[in-house]
């Protein structure tokens, strides 16, 4: 199993083999998560630091649980950007954290490129937990894990990703991951939320959600941030919801067994109707559960773990 990396910055530069290796490892960890004793000793004695410059209870908790299930020591470090601006730079903060002898640093930041920057100045492994509008690789992995679970494959599936593609790191990581694994990805949104030349990424681009979901195996709805309206990116929530909201009438146009996904937190009634969010086709809660296994796999493989080791735990 080829996985020799020290850092996980994004899915853009991973090979399909590396992604498969991550997904297979995550799969193995999933079965451990189903046991009564959910802990394995793989990272005993290692220190994982969650360095979050942006609030995120969900992702931080998921990483924390993943690290703890691998028996690592976990430190949560939330830095409000205001305290960073008081003369202490990002690099100072990160070096301070590393002085605590961390082995792995999970970093989230509102600026794109921060994990890459840190990987150049710190000795620890860096795991990107979301940087600006760039990438959120573990989200991409947990989404692919969820799709593979339900559909038993990724290759050849039609995946529609709809919403604010321009500002979405989730969209980017999913585009890279899914296209590398052979899915056919269609992006949907108003032109104002589709970033420049995105079609150069081996994806189809459409403006009509109803048309796009035809024959879709997966419909992935992105959260729309309401403040985008102030920047004239769409005229009103009402209009956005009318054209880009997923309700039962739109869902009916997809394949009958199409999966509905969302990275959370949802704006119920805006990009997704409550009925669809809670329907049988929705796997939104599975995504959250799979997040732990996906992050365990990332921590484990970056720390140099071998897949057969998990088998030894009965995973």
């Amino acid at each position: 199993m080829p996985f020799k990396r020290k850092h996980l910055i994004g899915l853009e530069d991973l090979t399909p083999e590396e992604i498969k290796s991550l997904l297979d490892t995550a799969e193995a960890f999933k079965s451990i998560s189903n046991r009564q004793v959910k802990k394995v000793p793989s990272l005993r004695g290692r220190t994982v630091v969650n360095l979050f410059f942006e609030n995120s209870t969900r992702t931080r908790t998921s990483f924390e649980l993943a690290a703890k299930r691998l028996s690592a020591d976990v430190i949560n470090f939330s830095v409000s950007t205001s305290s960073v601006s008081k003369g202490e730079t990002l690099i100072d903060t990160a070096r301070t954290i590393e002085a605590l002898e961390s082995d792995m640093v999970v970093v989230r930041h509102s600026c794109s490129g921060v994990p890459l920057l840190l990987s150049n100045v710190l000795r620890s492994s860096i795991i990107n937990a979301g940087d600006g509008m760039h990438e959120h690789p573990t989200q991409g992995l947990l989404d692919m894990l969820t799709i593979r679970d339900k559909k038993k494959k990724i290759e050849g599936l039609k995946v529609v990703i709809s919403g604010d593609i321009a500002h979405s790191r989730v969209a980017r990581s999913n585009i890279y991951g899914l296209t590398k694994m052979g899915a056919k990805v269609t992006l949907v949104g108003p032109p104002t939320l589709l970033p420049k030349d995105i079609d150069r990424l081996d994806v189809k681009v459409e403006n009509d959600l109803r048309h796009a979901v035809k024959d879709a195996d997966v419909i992935y709805m992105l959260r729309i941030q309401l403040e985008r309206q102030k920047r004239s990116l769409f005229p009103s929530i009402r209009e956005y919801s009318m054209f880009f909201g997923l309700d039962e009438s739109v869902l009916k146009l997809a394949k009958p067994d199409a999966m509905v996904m969302h990275p959370g937190p949802m704006n119920r009634g805006v990009e997704i109707s409550p009925e669809v969010a809670d329907c049988k086709q929705s796997v939104i809660n599975d995504q959250v559960t799979n997040g732990i296994a996906a992050r365990m796999a990332v921590l484990f493989l970056l720390a140099g773990g071998e897949a057969n080791e998990i088998a030894a735990y009965g995973g």
Binding site: L90, C111, S112, V114, M133, R169, K196, D197, L201
Partner: protein
């Protein structure tokens, strides 16, 4: 005090002279150019195999003093210029305080005399505090020695104010230099809007934010009779606008900077903050258009937009990093390597854009090696390749994306006002 340059090749496009000539300097002026000059008592500077050019003139430099001395001072900035073969700079007014009144103009001029090592010509802000609200006292500024007017990186967004400012400026016959950027369109952009910004997840600034303002400023200048000079043209859209304007007979001059004919926005892929500047690095098509603009004369000159920043400004997140890179010490080598060696420009054309044209735009009697002219002279090597080493730069700041790059066109010697001030890497 006599100085005789021997063995070099004189390239003097202003006077259409090129050839292996000696050049004699007496009392700060050029007194003879010719074969085998004999001058009793002259100090001899052997420049065999080297090019003798009129001293370079960089009309877009940030010296940062007063106010931002941790980035650069008049002393360190002019030393960097000297080491880059630049004998005259025009410096931008975005200092603290802003160069928007006669007292600050005089301060810069007097500091440049006492601490500088080359000629310094201050540019004054066209609006008070460069705030884009009220026109500065342009008359007093002109009288105290301002060479041009500009709000540089704080472009005047209000078209009516710009119209009145240019109209008023037109009586002093000094150029109005405009950084063209529609700030509403660029908002919190940090790089060119392109496929690369999409991939990097960085906010983009579209090229049309530049070309739209270039068009507006050309229109206003021609309506009012002002002399407009478009700063740092970075993209095809702006080159096209200026080419059209010149063809139509509208008055406009412009410059580009070496990074716009050397690098594309793909350089940003490392999130290296030394690739962040405004206007931003553009695409391959834009780089090609800028070079074509230089070739066909649409772009008059090359200036650096030398923008020193300290480590605290640059060793930060890409979004929060300051815009700008230093350029004085790589100006000529980049022009030689990227334009002359590649045969896009002749050496004469390159020197025109680095010395002759900026002198004409600024209305100063320089950029020529004619007898009687100021002896501002740059001597450089066309053959030897060297690697850029920012740690050896004279600039106080090191924010260059060109560290380690292999270039030709290394500066050998620089003479300012008849005095040999730089030779073989050392300031004398």
């Amino acid at each position: 005090m006599k100085l005789l340059l021997t063995g070099g090749e004189v390239v003097d496009p202003a006077n259409k002279v090129r050839g292996r000539f000696d050049l004699l300097i007496e009392d700060g002026k050029i007194t003879k150019v010719g074969k085998d000059i004999r001058a009793d008592g002259a100090k001899i500077l052997d420049v065999s195999g080297k090019i003798i050019s009129p001293g370079l003139i960089d009309m877009h430099v940030h010296l940062r003093e007063p106010g931002f001395e941790y980035k650069e001072t008049i002393e360190t900035g002019t030393r960097a210029a000297l080491a880059g073969g630049v004998t005259t700079v025009a410096c931008m007014p975005n200092t603290e305080p802003v160069i928007d009144n006669a007292a600050v103009v005089e301060l810069v001029i007097s500091k440049a005399k006492s601490e500088g090592v080359i000629n310094v010509l201050p540019i004054a802000s066209i609006t008070k505090g460069a705030k884009g609200e009220e026109v500065s006292e342009l008359g007093s500024l002109a009288k105290s020695g301002a060479i041009a007017f500009s709000d540089d990186a704080a472009p005047v967004m209000n078209a009516e104010l710009m119209r009145r400012a240019m109209e008023y400026a037109s009586q002093f016959d000094l150029p109005v230099i405009t950084h063209c950027e529609d700030k509403n369109m660029t908002l919190d952009g940090v790089m060119n809007e392109s496929f690369t910004s999409t991939v990097l997840g960085l906010r983009g600034m579209p090229d049309i934010a530049e070309s739209i303002m270039a068009y507006r400023n050309i229109e206003i200048a021609n309506y009012t009779g002002a002399k407009v000079h478009i700063a740092h043209v970075s993209c095809k859209a702006t080159v096209d606008v200026i080419r059209w304007a010149k063809k139509t007979g509208l008055n406009v001059t412009c410059e580009t900077a070496p990074h716009y004919f050397t690098l594309t926005d793909e350089a940003v892929k490392s999130y290296d903050t030394n690739t962040k500047m405004n206007p931003p690095l553009r695409t391959k098509e834009d780089v090609e258009a800028v070079i074509e603009g230089l070739v066909d004369g649409t772009i008059d000159c090359i200036a650096t937009d030398h923008a020193p920043h300290g480590r605290i400004d640059k060793e930060v997140e890409f979004n929060t990093a300051s815009f700008g890179i230093i350029g004085l010490e790589t100006l000529l080598p980049l022009a030689i390597t990227e334009l002359v060696i590649t045969k896009r420009l002749t050496l004469e054309q390159a020197i025109e854009k680095l010395s002759v044209r900026p002198a004409a735009i600024l209305g100063i009697k320089k950029g020529s090696l004619k007898i009687g002219e100021d002896a501002d002279i740059t001597v450089f090597d066309m053959e030897n390749e060297y690697a850029v080493d920012t740690s050896k730069f004279f600039s106080k700041s090191k924010n260059s994306p060109f560290n380690g790059r292999k270039l030709k066109g290394e500066i050998s010697a620089v003479i300012v006002g008849g005095t040999l001030k730089f030779k073989d890497g050392k300031i004398l």
